[in-house]
Subunit: 255 residues, 2 copies
């Protein structure tokens, strides 16, 4: 059986590369990824064939990975974060579904989950994701703005902790401000906001501010913005969203 691994390598720091991902990389002859991720993997894939395609070449990268897997025995397509969350895995399945090629038929696809940016950002400041949360991409390149806006309003009304992916880009600078204004109608002005830039890279920078003070000019595409819910608290030791445990009720969930 031919094999295509779709691997989430986590935030970049190899301390978050799961053993499952490492084994899958070791089993693969060829690694397809954006060049930065090949560089970050470094020694882990030193003896492999590398295939780098630029940002913007996502369809080509997915297609190349499938074609290589059809030709060779075992190939890996690598995303940062979790390959299944705002990343490459879905594109492979979309190609298989909508533009299938006969040579792809006998490829076994295996997705290997990785730590996504919202998790690392949360862990750096405490436990802001401890209650119901959502992830919203503010990029309108692939999603109509109306859909995104509906989700911002829904997340505000539902009082979800929100992780905004792709919050701001050079060409797109007003969506985060809009989201802030919508959220200010539902949450306190001092609602904690986490601005996590270049997570796990040498220049990682994490700041905790408030919804009122959230300044979109401090945010770019390499930043994840997380907004607490109406109960999220920031104090000297960190930021957390309470689950109500202090009510001392019996707990039936995971421990």
């Amino acid at each position: 059986m031919k094999k295509l691994y779709i691997i989430g390598m986590g935030p970049g720091d190899l301390n978050y590369l799961a053993p499952a991902a490492r084994k899958a990389l070791a089993a693969s002859s060829d690694i397809v990824a954006y060049q930065l991720y090949l560089d970050l993997l470094g020694e882990v894939i030193a003896d492999k064939q590398h295939h780098a395609l630029d940002l913007g070449k996502e369809i080509e990268r997915a297609e190349l990975a499938l074609n290589l897997a059809a030709e060779k025995q075992c190939v890996a397509l690598v995303s940062s974060g979790d390959a299944g969350i705002f990343a490459m895995a879905t594109l492979v399945f979309e190609l298989l579904d909508k533009q299938p090629k006969a040579i792809w038929n006998d490829i076994d696809i295996e997705v290997i989950a990785g730590i996504s940016a919202l998790q690392l950002a949360a862990s750096r400041v405490g436990a802001p994701l401890a209650h119901d949360f959502c992830a919203i991409s503010l990029s309108d390149l692939l999603t109509p703005w109306e859909t995104i806006n509906t989700r911002i309003h829904a997340a505000a009304q539902g009082d979800f902790v929100i992780a905004f992916y792709n919050p701001v880009s050079k060409k797109r600078d007003w969506q985060l401000d809009h989201a802030k204004q919508v959220l200010l109608k539902h949450r306190p002005t001092d609602c904690p906001v986490i601005i996590a830039r270049n997570l796990s890279r040498p220049d990682e920078n994490i700041t905790v501010t408030t919804l009122e003070k959230l300044d979109s000019t401090q945010v770019d595409m390499l930043t994840l913005v997380m907004v607490g819910n109406s109960e999220t608290r920031a104090f000297a030791k960190g930021v957390y969203t309470p689950r109500g445990y202090s009510k001392k009720l019996q707990l039936e969930t995971q421990a």
Copy 2:
């Protein structure tokens, strides 16, 4: 500096235990966790002092971890999944915030993220989490049902992919059916639903069904239920939520 690591060990399969988590466990003298997780960690923590407290003893477990960290140099508190997602980390911060003890003052707290159930469930079937998603716990032990119900409606209106944690328990069997009825007003009857039971355990069982056919009697507390959005597709090779890549637009997000 005294240290308390709060570690997400992932779903149980040590192939998802991050090197960062393994190093933190190695550095710790004492491990505090529910007994099952101590058993799953096995050899990794064979030479450590173990402290198991039963389910329901979450406050006691967090307090014990803090007290041990105050007494010793380095201690680890372990959750399954991601310690920050519906798990133990928030309770430590809540104790530090609301019931601080002087002996806890000089403890450095470090949270280490792990793979959460929604990620492993998604990876097992394809890429259902590839667009905006949310996580909702249906347990009303710590959250008023009105809050949960508001979130179900908000998630339905926002067309989020939804991961339901704690979907059903022995005493609580109607909330998932209620959520199903709410979602059926907003999504197609054939909207893909993933039922993931005992993830990464020897008896792991994953089925893909539809919203219409979702049967809550097949679901228990060890199950994660994931409902696709209105565009999620199930086909022979898996389940995925398209991001619109096939429109061949330039992509500014992570690759």
